[in-house]
């Protein structure tokens, strides 16, 4: 950890050293990201092709290049707690153009997975889980649509889990295997009461 200067807490915080202290980095983080993402983030040479390609970069502080840098240096906390982590639209433009043949998008997805392990996750992601747990669909059917479907000569509910709810137990079993629903419910409750 960074050394403390022995100032009063408020002053210590204000004059906090921003320099890169080696003690702050976690080399295991780099290795873990590399393994889980099945790509080669350690090969990043910081050319910026990713950020230059990124549709999110011009309208936010999200910099995929910086996330790649954090992986290279093992800056786990900095990477996982940055709210910009959730601004990647997964368009894969960076992955298509990266001259080092890295898939930065998959690196972001891996870091999101690792963030979730620390309960860091926007609630909307979890709501998709609860929706799928309930009906098998992230975007479920509704009455207006049922009527429209009938008019188009389709079944009121599509021949998915909507029409065959007997398939739902298996889906719930799979999600429960990973305790995903329980975790989602817990986190949503913590955030929204």
């Amino acid at each position: 950890m960074a050394r403390t200067k022995g100032y009063p807490e408020a002053l210590e915080k204000k004059l906090h050293e921003q320099r890169f202290f080696r003690e702050d980095s976690n080399p295991e983080f780099s290795k873990k990201v590399k393994t889980l993402s099945r790509t080669i983030p350690h090969m990043c040479y910081q050319c910026g092709t990713c950020t230059g390609s990124c549709p999110s970069a011009p309208r936010s502080t999200y910099r995929i290049r910086k996330f790649m840098r954090r992986v290279v240096l093992g800056l786990e906390n900095e990477a996982l707690t940055d709210p910009d982590l959730w601004l990647c639209t997964t368009c894969y433009s960076c992955s298509d153009r990266c001259p080092r043949d890295i898939l930065p998008t998959d690196v972001i997805m891996t870091m999101r997975n690792l963030a979730f392990q620390r309960d860091i996750i926007p609630v909307n992601f979890l709501k998709t889980v609860t929706a799928i747990y309930a009906s098998g669909h992230g975007v479920p059917n509704n009455d207006v649509n049922r009527a429209a479907r009938e008019r188009l000569g389709l079944t009121r509910d599509p021949p998915t889990t909507h029409m065959y709810p007997e398939y739902m137990p298996a889906i719930r079993k799979i999600i429960d295997h990973y305790k995903l629903k329980a975790n989602a419910d817990r986190i949503i409750k913590e955030r929204e009461g």
Partner: protein, 722 residues
């Protein structure tokens, strides 16, 4: 040196005259039971098969090198030494910090004398590095140099098993035991000397090929300079100025081109290609295809009895030619006729007909007139055979097809051009007379973006993984040129690193920055064209500001990667030269033999070996010329005596080996009324293809004989149990 040489020669000739076919019985015995004691030798020098060393008489010395800590740091030298003492035939073991040093070598030749050694094993680095060193030491100790065997305990052991001390120690013991087993059976071998033709060939007449040919010619060597294009000068003649001195490229190149044309020792063959290569160092028989150029030189005309005729470069033919095609020299930005020259300063100034577009209307023939009669529309390709002692490949490079990197829109957006196109546009003799204009509307650009590493340092498989090495510098030069020529024009250089490594290069970078070039540290992600204005939006990340940028410019220049010239692969195969995975021709050793190749007598000059700027290219060409002149000046070369030998008694004359030999070294001959195989030793590289195949076991691979290899395998398999 000269004295040494003559000694070898004498021994060699002695051997040649005394060489007789091996006695059948003896051969059988040797091949079947390597460890069995052969009959005592009567004569000291008979067939190589006769004087096979007798394992039981062998006294082998083992010398273990520490290589500083390279070896000693990863294994227990003491333990290795103790183990070596127990191996069969080992008469002496020693170790030293640096076996290759003078004191180390002294240890070896002293031990040979003191302990009456018959063979030497050095356990150290690799034969590639120090085989010659230790052979000399063996010779100095009074043994035949081929009585030396190396055990590689560094590159293949201590370096790769750096963290496994026990394992590497055991492996070193194995390696030495195997080497000792072979050393006990090593024979005296004598290199063969062959005469060297006093002529050389240079393939490719760009600046590298020209320089190499000029140097060889100046050293008094007849040199054939082969160029596939119609005139010489190569890529350099397409450039406007050169960095960092800003000399005009043509101005410094033209004198060399003229010298090449004038040199009595250079036989320049343009519009020609190497068609076939046979032979070996000292004696390459090269067939050259002189492509039909449809126009005769004055010399060729004279040979046909047209005195005072032939092309004088007047250009009357070009004037009347009705065919219009894009000029490749100007990268299609200027028209040319079907009969044409690349540019006004060409050497040789001889017109050429592009027969793929010529309509054979005959107007040029009429225009040329009855005196010169230079044009022959029915001309056919001709094949010319020459003999040379050595050859230099200087086949150069092409621009990588940068349209393959689609994100930058080359060939899709009019105002995105390649760096070579920029050279022609900024050049006074180019298609626009030196005015840089936008291809879309002919307007002068005010903001120009430069995309560095366009296809270089690219591991996607589309581009090139290497640094093309001169793009940074010529882009700085381009920036200078537009600042100088177009007042108010700003160059924006998008870079990852500026690699200004050469003499006065960093200073040049300083100068261009001072002149007003803007440097943006970020690789260009993509380029978007404004359909209405044809302006370009360069999308990148200014990594230093940490801000994505969308910069609108009038024009973009792509500093495109380079790749080996189109015909390189065909040419290199003719000469038996390897290439690395990126296609560049492979030198014998990147540091210690950068101009040589693994084919003796064939050398590399310039960019065909890998990206080089002009100074490095010329330096490499001079190096290659020097290296290629050595065998010629020596008059003869020694060949490694690893060639195959035929045991006529066993040979059935089936001829399978003759077809298999990649070097055409084998032939069938009549001997004592039988058809048997004969080896042309100078052509044989000792690859072993024939020996491995021969169904009758009639082929004997010197220095890699079956008994030697079997002994090595036994030593490994039986391990320490012996």
């Amino acid at each position: 040196m000269a004295e040494k040489k003559s000694t070898t020669k004498k021994t060699e000739s002695k051997k040649d005259t005394k060489k007789v076919a091996p006695v059948k019985q003896e051969v059988k015995k040797q091949a079947a039971a390597p460890a069995a004691k052969p009959k005592a030798e009567e004569a000291p020098a008979k067939s190589p098969i006769d004087n096979l060393a007798k394992a039981e008489d062998a006294r082998i010395g083992v010398f273990i090198c520490h290589c500083g800590t390279n070896i000693a740091g990863s294994m227990d030298i003491e333990a290795v030494q103790e183990a070596a003492k127990t191996f069969p035939h080992v008469a002496y073991v020693d170790n030293y910090k640096y076996m290759c040093s003078m004191p180390g070598q002294t240890v070896i030749h002293k031990a040979i004398k003191d302990h009456k050694l018959t063979g030497v094993v050095v356990a150290a680095c690799t034969p590639r590095l120090h085989e010659p060193t230790f052979r000399t030491a063996t010779k100095d100790g009074g043994l035949n140099p081929f009585r030396f065997e190396m055990a590689n305990i560094r590159d293949q052991n201590s370096w790769v098993h750096m963290h496994d001390r026990e394992g590497s120690t055991d492996k070193a013991k194995d390696a030495i035991r195997i080497a000792v087993a072979k050393a006990a059976l090593l024979q005296d071998l004598h290199p063969k000397a062959v005469p060297v033709e006093k002529a050389a060939m240079v393939v490719g007449a760009g600046v590298a090929g020209m320089q190499a040919a000029l140097d060889l010619a100046a050293a008094g060597i007849k040199t054939y300079l082969i160029e596939k294009d119609m005139s010489i000068g190569g890529r350099m003649s397409q450039l406007d100025k050169t960095f960092p001195t800003l000399d005009c490229s043509q101005c410094i190149l033209t004198p060399k081109m003229v010298d090449v044309g004038r040199s009595p020792n250079i036989e320049l063959m343009t519009w020609s290609e190497v068609h076939e290569v046979e032979g070996y160092i000292g004696n390459f028989d090269v067939t050259i295809r002189k492509k039909a150029r449809g126009v005769m030189t004055p010399k060729e005309a004279e040979a046909k009895g047209i005195v005072g005729g032939g092309c004088n470069g007047c250009g009357d033919c070009e004037g009347v030619c009705p065919v219009i095609k894009p000029n490749e020299f100007e990268i299609g930005m200027k028209p040319r006729k079907a009969i044409y020259v690349n540019h006004p300063q060409v050497v040789p100034l001889i017109y050429t007909i592009d027969f793929t577009s010529c309509v054979k209307c005959g107007l040029c023939v009429t225009a040329c007139g009855p005196e010169k009669r230079a044009i022959d529309l029915e001309m056919k390709d001709e094949f010319v055979k020459v003999k040379v002692g050595t050859a230099i490949l200087a086949t150069g490079y092409d621009i990588f097809p940068i349209e393959n990197k689609q994100e930058w829109g080359y060939k899709r957006y009019e105002n995105v051009i390649s760096s070579l196109e920029f050279e022609r546009l900024i050049c006074a003799s180019g298609p626009t007379g030196g005015h840089l204009v936008r291809p879309s509307d002919g307007e002068t650009p005010k903001r120009v973006g430069f995309v560095l590493c366009a296809g270089s340092r690219d591991n996607t498989g589309t581009g090139k993984p290497y640094c093309s090495r001169f793009c940074c510098m010529y882009s700085l030069k381009h920036a200078h040129q537009i600042i100088e020529k177009i007042p108010g024009c700003v160059p924006y250089i998008f870079y990852m690193d500026i690699r200004s490594f050469g003499k006065m290069y960093e200073e040049f970078y300083y100068r261009i920055q001072d002149e007003g070039a803007k440097f943006i540290r970020g690789r260009v992600a993509n380029i978007i064209e404004d359909k209405a204005t044809k302006n370009l939006h360069v999308m990148a990340d200014d990594t230093l500001l940490d801000r994505p940028i969308d910069m609108e410019v009038d024009m973009v220049v792509l500093a495109a990667a380079i790749q080996p010239a189109a015909d390189t692969n065909r040419t290199r195969k003719l000469f038996g030269v390897s290439c690395s995975s990126d296609g560049w021709l492979l030198e014998a050793h990147p540091k210690l033999n950068p101009c040589g190749t693994t084919t003796a007598g064939v050398f590399l000059a310039g960019v065909c070996q890998g990206p080089k700027d002009i100074p490095d290219t010329v330096a490499s060409a001079e190096g290659a010329a020097s290296a290629a002149s050595i065998p010629i000046h020596m008059g003869e070369v020694e060949l490694e005596p690893y060639f195959a030998s035929c045991i006529p008694e066993k040979c059935a004359g089936c001829g399978m080996c003759v077809n298999l030999c990649p070097y055409s070294a084998l032939s069938l001959v009549e001997k004592d009324g039988r058809t048997v195989m004969q080896v042309t030793e100078a052509k044989c590289k000792g690859c072993g293809t024939c020996g491995g195949f021969c169904p009758g076991g009639a082929i004997w691979m010197n220095h890699f004989t079956t008994p030697q290899i079997v002994a090595q395998i036994d030593a490994f398999l039986l391990g320490g149990e012996q």
